[in-house]
């Protein structure tokens, strides 16, 4: 029967056979629950932000009008139910870009006419690749990177990813040499490079890019005349220094240059606001042709008007956004600190990080040998014996074995403490 399906249906470019997803499956079969299944697997493989939802819930209790599809007491249900314009709800786009600016300390401002709404960042990234590349073209991505990119950027688009290798020797920073090497590798394979895609703050590293790195990227794309996509989905999770620099700040000095049209930002409310279920993603770009094409492509995954309306109300409340951004930061910092000190106690160090919902943990010293097989062995022990679902570095295409991504913002504090205890017990043996 599979003979009658498309090539895409038959291949496994969706990447779901990777350990990242296998770990999630193992968790599904035996999920930890404080009362009902205290011996279950603790989920530390899902980068969710569960720390600040209570702030949204309180806002709701004070803004009941929004809840009932009402605006100024009048029902707007009909208008919302009918609203399917792919340009998006103007009030929502306005509130969204203001929120994005606020996250960046209002050092930059965004134009609502340059934003395209999509069904989550998953869709935003795929749409951008459809706009920039044809089947066989390549995107360069620094390793380690989010495993989902293999599906989002390659599966249905037919594009390729060539890694820009980053190593622990310089804390996984992007170097000019690594960029050139990746470009050369693509050329050697006869692959046309269409752009570079970076995630800043980084998933899985949890670090923010330095100004120097951003300048380096700009120089590189100017030289090669290619695009730069910056996935800034974690921009609202920066909890420590150094301060966050968005590519949009760097871009401001290139306003008259040709490269102005070739830098694109991806955003979403799944991480900062902790609303992954609502499927709110966005593409922001100065490139008019991409705005036009991506807007039409967004027909395949528009944001529910019900959701756009709710969020337009929430994000227009500046008191709420100000409080949320600062409170969320504090809670993430505290939670991050708990994990780091807990791991330190167990003799495990992490990459120094200031953002994200996870830590990049160094378990190289726990490997039986410096190989990916040993990493898999260790991973299986941690998932099935220690009962923690963490993500092995190989699933993130890390070039060095022994690193693991451990999420800390998707559970109660007590659960994190239990997880840390389990790790200590495992290491002490």
């Amino acid at each position: 029967m599979r003979l009658l399906l498309s090539g895409k249906a038959k291949c496994n470019s969706h990447g779901q056979d990777s350990s990242y997803f296998l770990g999630l499956q193992a968790y599904e079969k035996n999920p930890y629950d404080q009362t009902r299944n205290p011996q279950g697997i603790i989920q530390m493989g899902l980068a969710e932000n569960q720390l600040s939802l209570d702030l949204v819930e309180s806002w709701l209790s004070e803004n009941q009008d929004v809840a009932g599809f009402k605006s100024d007491g009048e029902s707007i249900f009909r208008e919302l139910a009918l609203f399917q314009d792919y340009h998006g709800l103007p009030a929502f786009k306005k509130a969204l870009v203001q929120f994005m600016a606020e996250i960046r300390g209002n050092k930059v401002s965004f134009d609502p006419k340059k934003i395209v709404l999509t069904a989550g960042a998953t869709s935003a990234n795929e749409t951008l690749v459809f706009c920039l590349a044809k089947a066989g073209d390549t995107i360069l991505i620094p390793t380690p990177y989010y495993p989902g990119f293999d599906r989002d950027l390659k599966w249905r688009t037919g594009a390729e990813i060539v890694p820009i290798h980053c190593t622990s020797s310089n804390d996984f920073k992007i170097t000019a040499r690594a960029l050139q090497q990746a470009y050369q590798e693509a050329q050697n394979c006869n692959l046309k490079v269409k752009g570079v895609l970076v995630t800043n703050p980084s998933n899985p590293l949890g670090t923010t890019m330095t100004r120097a790195e951003l300048d380096l990227l700009m120089d590189f794309i100017v030289e090669k005349q290619i695009h730069l996509v910056c996935d800034e989905i974690y921009s609202g999770t920066v909890f420590g220094s150094p301060n966050y620099t968005s590519i949009v700040e760097v871009l401001s000095k290139y306003e008259k240059a040709e490269v102005w049209d070739r830098v694109h930002v991806v955003y979403s409310l799944s991480k900062d606001l902790g609303l992954p279920g609502f499927r709110v993603g966005a593409i922001y770009t100065n490139n008019g042709s991409i705005i036009a094409a991506a807007t039409k492509m967004s027909s395949f995954g528009l944001v529910s008007s019900q959701t756009q309306y709710f969020l337009s109300m929430l994000l227009s409340d500046k008191k709420f956004t100000r409080n949320y951004i600062s409170e969320n930061k504090k809670r993430l910092e505290k939670r991050h600190a708990s994990l780091i000190s807990g791991l330190q106690n167990a003799g495990i160090s992490c990459l120094k990080s200031n953002a994200g919902l996870f830590s990049w943990v160094d378990m190289r010293h726990l490997l039986s040998s410096s190989t990916f097989e040993a990493e898999m062995e260790l991973w299986e022990k941690i998932v099935y014996d220690v009962k923690l679902n963490i993500s092995p570095g190989s699933s993130c295409h890390c070039s060095e074995p022994g690193w693991f991504r451990v999420c800390f913002a998707n559970m109660a504090e007590e659960t994190l403490e239990i997880a840390i205890r389990r790790i200590k017990a495992f290491v002490d043996v």
Partner: protein
């Protein structure tokens, strides 16, 4: 309408051809004044099945120009996109016409945008009859919402669910949502069939569902047969990013546009001859734009056809609950059960709540497949267009309310029937016939008698008059790839009763004014007819505030600066 793309086309040659072609005149002169460097040298042309004319599009200047005998002017080659001096930095998909929005039928939207009807503020404005929306039952839904505040996770009654729902991004979808949708689909089909919630895959509206099923079933270049006339959005949904193609199965008014086995076989044979791999057949039942349902024989023939050829059958049943009169709707789900020999792995149903419930804004699209591998693959692909969990929760609650749904379906059918009768009666009184339909949110109106000649050109000319003089934005049959000129789709469920009366009065007045003159050439609206040349710079397109729905068959209307 076939889309054929031409290679980089020398400007001088175009000038010469237009100059020497059948319609010289002021238009080409204006073209020649534009500096060559401003133009992309990509030219695409499109011409309908009967090839009586071609529209020439220059990719950054939009020129509608009718030229007869196109094959003598151009030779067919594959398209390439090259900008004047720069490296091509965007993909072809981003810059070609695959989104199908650059066809010339934007005058209707332009007219509506500039002059929208309002009963008190603008009673002589253009009435929107090009949007297939179901606006007749919102009062029922609103009433339900008020009585069921817990269905929204934002109310104080529902907020305790907020966190779990906000975090829920599992591509299997909320179990309650799938269960409710499966039950609703069964209800809509009179509970003659049952649907398995585990076969329900979410998508970003039916638009997303069509693209997704195509990605699952077809490789670039593969084709789907689709009976004409068909919803113009399919060109984008099934072909744009998937690079699949659509091949028409031509249907005729002589037998009420029935889909015959003969027509299916002919279309298939043509494909085989042209070395095109056919992957499936796409049926819309109830039909858009016809407003009719497929009878049991046709459905059985379709099943036997696809089984014989071992190709897929995609049934878009998005209008299933808009059937307002006998005969009863028959879903492919029923036909499948009739014969154990049918290969169920070939059958897939596309569904949505946009038409039956009137919720296009909520983007609830469904792919229901009898093929396990398609369900599995589709689920993974649904990551690109999941339904917002907030909406899933609301819909789950609403569709599980048996009493409400029973009342809604009955009322909806009743109101659609009344609206349908109001229009068909009113039209009949002035001698305008419609195809005999019992479903959908529109009428398939027969205006062949008002055409000067039986050509698409004449249909377009009549359409422009209906927009600009009668002030109704209706959709011409050619935009649905209809093989016979003179048919128009008229949407009737997207307005209130007063507007209905105004629309009917205008049609009546127009018909009576023109009457049935023995000599067609004397029709008074034809005296001033000429082609209009519209220029539109690409940056105008990009900056124009398009506010209309992208999901109607007529594309968004940017502001067009006509120069006549």
């Amino acid at each position: 309408m076939h889309r054929v793309f031409f290679p980089d086309f020398p400007w001088k040659t175009l000038q010469n051809n237009l100059h020497n072609g059948p319609r010289p005149g002021p238009y080409f002169k204006r073209i020649t004044q534009l500096p060559l460097s401003l133009l992309s040298t990509t030219i695409s042309c499109s011409f309908p099945a009967n090839s009586s004319f071609v529209f020439v599009h220059l990719s950054c200047y939009f020129i509608s120009y009718q030229v007869k005998n196109p094959t003598s002017l151009f030779s067919l080659k594959t398209m390439s996109y090259v900008s004047s001096n720069r490296k091509p930095l965007l993909s072809r998909k981003a810059t070609n016409d695959g989104h199908a929005e650059n066809c010339p039928y934007f005058d209707g939207w332009k007219a509506y945008d500039k002059d929208p009807f309002h009963p008190t503020q603008n009673p002589s404005g253009v009435i929107q009859m090009g949007l297939a929306e179901h606006q007749l039952c919102f009062d029922l839904v609103q009433e339900w919402l008020v009585s069921n505040p817990e269905a929204s996770i934002c109310t104080k009654e529902g907020v305790d669910k907020f966190r779990d729902i906000a975090l829920f991004q599992d591509y299997h979808g909320l179990p309650a949502f799938r269960n409710a949708v499966a039950k609703f689909m069964g209800r809509v089909r009179g509970d003659k069939v049952e649907f398995d919630p585990d076969r329900i895959v979410m998508s970003g509206g039916a638009t997303g569902a069509h693209e997704m099923i195509t990605f699952c079933l077809a490789d670039p270049g593969d084709a789907f047969l689709v009976p004409t006339p068909y919803y113009a959005g399919f060109d984008r949904d099934l072909c744009w990013r998937t690079e699949a193609r659509l091949l028409p199965v031509v249907c005729h008014s002589s037998n009420n546009f029935k889909v015959t086995r003969k027509a299916l076989e002919e279309a298939y044979a043509k494909a085989v001859e042209a070395n095109i791999s056919v992957k499936g057949l796409l049926l819309t039942n109830p039909s858009n734009p016809l407003g009719t349902i497929l009878d049991r024989d046709t459905l059985r023939e379709a099943m036997s056809f696809i089984n014989e050829k071992n190709i897929h059958l995609i049934c878009d049943e998005i209008y299933a609950a808009t059937v307002f009169r006998q005969p009863d709707f028959i879903s492919i789900a029923e036909i499948i059960e009739e014969d154990q020999e049918y290969n169920r792995n070939l059958v897939h149903i596309i569904y949505s709540l946009s038409k039956d419930m009137g919720f296009p804004g909520f983007r609830v699209g469904i792919v229901y497949s009898y093929n396990d591998a398609v369900v599995e693959c589709g689920r993974k692909m649904s990551s690109f267009g999941l339904v917002s969990s907030q909406t899933q929760y609301l819909i789950a609650s609403m569709l599980s309310d048996d009493q409400f749904i029973g009342k809604f379906l009955l009322e909806s059918a009743g109101r659609l029937a009344t609206r349908h009768n109001d229009f068909t009666d009113g039209l009949r009184q002035v001698g305008i016939k419609c195809l005999n339909g019992n479903a959908g949110l529109f009428l398939w109106m027969d205006l062949r008698g008002l055409l000067m000649e039986s050509t698409v050109e004449a249909e377009t000319a009549l359409w422009r008059v209906i927009i600009n003089d009668v002030k109704l934005n209706v959709s011409p049959g050619s935009s649905f790839h209809c093989s016979e000129p003179g048919w128009f789709r008229v949407c009737i469920a997207n307005m209130n009763e007063e507007t209905t009366k105004v629309a009917l009065a205008r049609i009546r007045e127009f018909v009576l004014r023109n009457g049935n003159k023995p000599n067609r050439k004397e029709k008074c609206w034809q005296s001033d007819l000429r082609l209009r040349l519209s220029f539109r710079r690409i940056d105008d397109v990009l900056r124009s505030p398009c506010i209309m729905s992208p999901h109607s068959p007529i594309p968004q209307s940017p502001l067009v600066r006509t120069r006549t």
